[in-house]
């Protein structure tokens, strides 16, 4: 069970990681727009570089504004520490490259974001890291894919865009038997919707660009160390348990224990890869987090209403959301997401690809763009955009059909969203009729 704070999540979202600073008493988190930090003395500098004390050296490694966001996100998820990155993809790359080296292997869900699939299938393969894709809730397939050189089981808590909820307790149980951490991209399940660490995750990754920000004004990512994985008992992670030469032979697990992974990412990946978050971005994301829980309530309420409404429309051929009994992961979705499994839904319209195109092009309120989790309603046709680089078979494995329209339900007035969609559905109908 993860827990980093004894305050209510609503309070954590507003306060955690910051108390008004002593010089001026700024109530809002200040933007520390600086690249570097003056050392008290040569000895002070030396001790900072040698991890003899906490503190900031250079904003590629850490920054006070970014640190507030990190501590707030860690507290919201119940993790032992967090590292913010330039984007969700850099958070994923950082995680993979910290835990894996050439010759290692990852078992991944097949139902994942297109760019993540490309990273695993092509970029990491070029670096000598192989990935086996499985249907993540298939216990036999998952266990069968694990090898002696496997370093993690990776999945999305709600798959993009197939909306399959990963059975985290089951996945965790299998991974645990093999001494493997479960790394979960929880972007579609922002903090508060699901107790991801308690459910079995050891590492959480978010694209903070999405619901965490909510405003669509800043790109960022975060890796959260659950602090609940025994890297030594696993026996698979000399990167964390054996001496790390660039830091005088430091052994991260022995010295830092539950935050060994976060410290290793800070010491190595932020130093070497440098995919850091800017303090301005951290400030913008902090503004979003303050209202996260309130927004999610409205996101969920609107999503429930849209699912119900779409099912009643004659131009809609199918609707998919984890809360629907027709979704294959509905049972585990109800268990892990008692208030509702997120605000992403998918549906198909009559007229196939042409109908889908007509629907999207006629929308006035909802925006056709490659993002999700904005407070505004967003739509996309994944087959021609985010997942267009996948083969037909890979698309099918990812749960994507040609007529699939992905909707990120916003928090506008529900009647306005429905009126916009009704107009789009009429256009889809006309497209379908002209085809026939």
């Amino acid at each position: 069970m993860g827990r980093s704070s004894y305050y209510h999540p609503d309070t954590i979202a507003l306060h955690s990681g910051y108390v008004p600073e002593s010089d001026h008493g700024a109530r809002a988190v200040p933007i520390y727009q600086t690249t570097s930090y003056v050392f008290d003395s040569v000895d002070d500098a030396s001790s900072l570089f040698n991890v003899e004390q906490g503190g900031h050296i250079y904003s590629r490694i850490s920054n006070p504004t970014v640190a507030v966001l990190e501590q707030r996100l860690a507290a919201l998820e119940g993790g032992s520490g967090a590292i913010c990155t330039a984007s969700g993809m850099s958070a994923l790359f950082t995680t993979f490259i910290t835990l894996c080296s050439a010759g290692d292997h990852i078992v991944s869900s097949g139902q994942i974001y297109g760019s993540t699939a490309t990273l695993l299938r092509h970029t990491l393969k070029r670096l000598g890291i192989e990935t086996t894709f499985v249907s993540i809730n298939d216990q036999v397939a998952l266990e069968g894919a694990i090898r002696a050189n496997t370093k993690m089981v990776f999945c999305e808590s709600i798959g993009n865009p197939g909306l399959e909820v990963a059975n985290l307790p089951q996945i965790s149980s299998i991974a645990d038997q093999h001494g493997l951490p479960v790394v979960v991209d929880a972007t579609f399940a922002p903090p508060g919707l699901c107790k991801t660490i308690e459910s079995g995750a050891n590492v959480i990754v978010h694209s903070a660009t999405k619901w965490i920000g909510g405003h669509g004004a800043a790109v960022g990512g975060v890796v959260i160390d659950g602090g609940n994985f025994d890297w030594a008992a696993s026996g698979r992670f000399p990167e964390l348990t054996e001496p790390y030469e660039p830091f005088h032979g430091i052994k991260f697990w022995e010295e830092f224990g539950p935050n060994a992974l976060a410290m290793k990412i800070r010491a190595e990946s932020m130093r070497d890869i440098g995919a850091c978050m800017s303090p301005n971005t951290a400030f913008l994301l902090l503004q979003g987090i303050e209202t996260l829980n309130m927004r999610m309530k409205q996101h969920i309420a609107n999503t429930k209403a849209m699912v119900e409404w779409l099912q009643s429309q004659e131009q809609v051929t199918w609707v998919n959301h984890p809360d629907l009994p027709s979704n294959p992961s509905n049972v585990i979705a109800r268990e892990l997401f008692p208030d509702g499994a997120g605000s992403m839904l998918c549906f198909g319209v009559i007229g196939g690809r042409a109908g889908g195109g007509a629907f999207i092009d006629s929308l006035k309120l909802a925006s056709n763009l490659a993002n999700v989790g904005d407070s505004r309603t967003l739509v996309l046709h994944p087959g021609s955009t985010t997942h267009s680089r996948l083969t037909h078979d890979a698309m099918a494995a990812a749960g994507i059909s040609e007529d699939l329209i992905r909707v990120s339900v916003g928090i506008e007035g529900i009647n306005d969203i429905q009126a916009d969609f009704a107009n789009g559905l009429r256009s889809a109908q006309r497209a379908a009729e002209s085809q026939s």
């Binding site: 306060h15 003899e52 004390q53 906490g54 503190g55 032992s80 830091f247 010295e255």
Partner: protein, 278 residues
Amino acid sequence: MKLLVNGFETHVATGGKEFEKKLPTVLFLHGSGLDHRSWALQTRWFAYNGFGVLAPDFPGHSLSNGAPCTSIEESGKWLSDFLDAVGVEKAHIVGHSQGFLSALELSKLKPTAVKSLTGVGTAAAIPVNPMLIDTAEHSPTKAADMMLQWGFGHQTQMGVSATPGMQPIAIGRQIMRNNPLATDLQCCADYSAGVGAAQLVTAPSAMILADGDKMTPIKAGLAIAEQLEAKLVVLRDYGHMLPIEAPKQVLVALREFILGVEQYECGEVETLGDESKI
């Protein structure tokens, strides 16, 4: 490093450098349910600045094998055996909370081994509510939560961390829930010989206390400081978990005191300084 003490493998953190007996030794002792990681941000400085560092996990804690000590007296004896096993005759002893009680017993048992004695967030006695011990026996995680909620001061409760991006409560929780917390707490509750042991201390001493300490209230810490005629440092706005929540301030106080003792012994200074408030 790993060391056999009384037949059981003991994990000893050495501050990131190989332990050298020829250097002045600093022995760091963790508190109830915790381990060597309490001292992560103090041990490295000493190890890299001319000291040999030993920060063991007590038996049955985290990376050490063996059964946990069932009394403070037993833990003092274990410390004596530990120093024999590592071959150290004299050390600066630094104890947090329960670790300080064990240090008092070591001091009674083997006074020549104590070059200086520092208590951090502690007192001569640490009474424990029986309900907390009972909770620790039946639900270690719940007991850890109770202690962490009381143990950390306001800033840490608000998610502020001395190490950027980290959450000390979650870290402490993971460590404490898997360690023999109930046994440790019972040891503290049963121990009443602290004042007597302190009377026998002849080594220079220091107390680093927090004004917001709810586990070992500062009043009790001040009393033992007075008895020991210890150099006193009081940290404002912090709680009981001083080594973790105020690592830099604790390090500054420790190194000033321990370096002062070293200089005093060499005749470089005439006094050990007086109290300070940070």
